[in-house]
């Protein structure tokens, strides 16, 4: 039973897409969490819920509509936060609750809405198809290129924003690009672990990695490794145990975080 998992095509797909999503969410994780924007992931997840709902009504592949709507929402959140001088968290709250409400109304007035709301909420890792894998791979490629190319800018943007302005390297376009890429990543994440749990894929990796107190670069590497490990382990054990993979990921992330925390405390004790 523990080996025959690999003889199913849908399980292979699940491992591939799970790995891609785990890596890519962990890669952008430090730039969001250390920038005090953890709520952004949650907000965008709600927005992509609306995207999926509209997508299901309009076309066969709702993910395309979801990608579009989440990208628009990410720009909208940034705009509200900067122009209307509302603070960021509040801007996220406004956009996300509004889109969630609209999504629920659409579902209630559309007869024969044939996708279970539960799968939007908690994901459907085992029903991914080759299209999902292609989209996620492309997204992973773009994200890696973006982070590698603008690494130093992104670092300064989380460490000391003022200094970017002073050194006249401030680029609003890069800010928007980061938040748009995050939005797209979250849409793919919603498909895998669902709208309710996707923010955990963004938040946990950085929380785990910061326990080790390393350089920023090493923190990103630890973040990716931890995320990948917890995803693969979770997919592997959830199927034979017949529990949802999405919830298992969250729990295994929490277990790793606890382990890392204990490690930090013990290390601090022995060094003294």
């Amino acid at each position: 039973m523990w080996i025959e998992i690999f003889s199913y095509n849908f399980m292979i797909y699940a491992f591939i897409i799970g790995a891609l999503v785990a890596v890519v969410t962990a890669l952008i994780s430090p730039f969001i969490v250390l920038n005090n924007q953890s709520m952004l992931a949650d907000g965008l997840a709600h927005t992509s819920f609306l995207g999926f709902v509209i997508g299901v009504i309009l076309i066969d592949q709702p993910i395309y509509i979801a990608l579009l709507i989440a990208a628009l929402a990410s720009v909208l959140i940034k705009l509200i936060a900067t122009k209307a001088s509302i603070n960021n968290d509040a801007a996220i709250g406004v956009v996300s609750s509004l889109s969630f409400a609209i999504g629920l109304i659409i579902i209630s007035v559309t007869s024969g809405f044939n996708v279970s709301i539960e799968s939007l909420m908690t994901g459907s890792l085992l029903t991914t198809n080759i299209d999902d894998i292609i989209i996620t791979s492309l997204l992973a490629l773009v994200t890696f290129a973006f982070v590698i190319f603008f690494y130093r800018y992104l670092y300064q943007n989380v460490f000391d924003k003022e200094n970017i302005v002073i050194s006249r390297r401030k680029s609003i376009i890069l800010d928007y690009t980061l938040s748009m890429i995050s939005a797209l990543i979250i849409v793919v994440g919603v498909k895998i672990v669902g709208a309710l749990l996707v923010s955990s894929l963004i938040i946990f990796p950085t929380l785990i990695a910061t326990q080790f107190k390393k350089s920023f670069k090493t923190t990103i590497i630890i973040s990716i490794s931890a995320s990948l490990a917890s995803m693969l382990i979770s997919i592997y054990i959830s199927y034979p145990l017949d529990i949802p993979a999405s919830s298992t990921v969250v729990i295994s992330n929490a277990v790793i975080l606890f382990g890392a925390y204990v490690y930090r405390i013990l290390k601090g004790k022995f060094q003294r």
């Binding site: 460490f159 200094n163 002073i166 350089s215 670069k217």
Partner: protein, 225 residues
């Protein structure tokens, strides 16, 4: 170097800077003094481009500005090394640090009397050490204008002397220096330095020595806590 004309800053009904006009020439050292709430930090923010004045304008003729912030608001859990922090000051930054750049960082750490800190966590440094690291970051791209916000506040007395030595050395090489401070240390400041005493308006602007004899004797004490 800096040409400020009729600068006024209002936050709602509160006038923080009231019609300020002054010039700073290339190669000068200007200490900005004034009581709390006198608009010192606001003035610096305008010079640095972090804040727009309500009216008036500032022209700055500088290729590269270095800035030492007062207290950096870094999350105490932010994972980064001293080397990474300093590196973010370089004009040209690469994904992987160049050997020559690492050597420059090490040389500066030596100069600031904090060698061997390259790989240390920034969040684990003392206040004085942090300030020195941030000063290196401000200086590493060889700015022609250096803006310091309370640079000596967190420095230990022994390093204070070294700090002024480095400042004068840089100034001799042509760097213009603007220094906000509460405690102007007369041991290290001479008549070549200028003082701009600010209290929403410019109350004094001229040589330190004139300030000493003229202004302080009128009963205005410039040491404010």
């Amino acid at each position: 170097m800096i040409h400020a004309k009729n600068l006024t800053v209002k936050f709602n009904d509160l006038t923080v800077l009231d019609d300020i006009t002054f010039d700073v020439n290339k190669g000068e050292i200007v200490h900005i003094l004034g009581p709390n709430g006198s608009g010192k930090t606001t003035l610096i923010k305008i010079i640095l481009g972090l804040l727009k004045p309500t009216s008036g304008e500032v022209l700055i003729d500088s290729k590269k500005v270095g800035y030492l912030p007062q207290i950096i608001k870094v999350n105490s859990n932010f994972p980064t090394t001293v080397g990474e922090v300093i590196y973010s000051g370089f004009a040209k930054q690469y994904l992987v640090m160049k050997k020559a750049q690492i050597e420059i960082i090490k040389k500066w750490l030596q100069k600031m009397q904090i060698p061997d800190l390259v790989h240390k966590q920034f969040s684990e440094l003392s206040g004085g050490q942090r300030q020195r690291v941030l000063l290196i970051r401000a200086l590493i791209a060889k700015p022609d204008l250096l803006v310091l916000d309370e640079p000596t506040s967190a420095l230990d007395p022994e390093f204070r002397k070294r700090f002024y030595e480095i400042m004068y050395e840089l100034n001799k090489a042509g760097m213009t220096i603007i220094n906000i401070t509460h405690d102007l240390d007369s041991n290290f400041v001479d008549c070549s330095n200028n003082v701009l005493y600010l209290d929403r308006q410019i109350k004094f602007y001229g040589s330190y020595c004139v300030f000493q004899t003229d202004y302080s004797s009128k009963g205005h004490h410039h040491h404010v806590d």
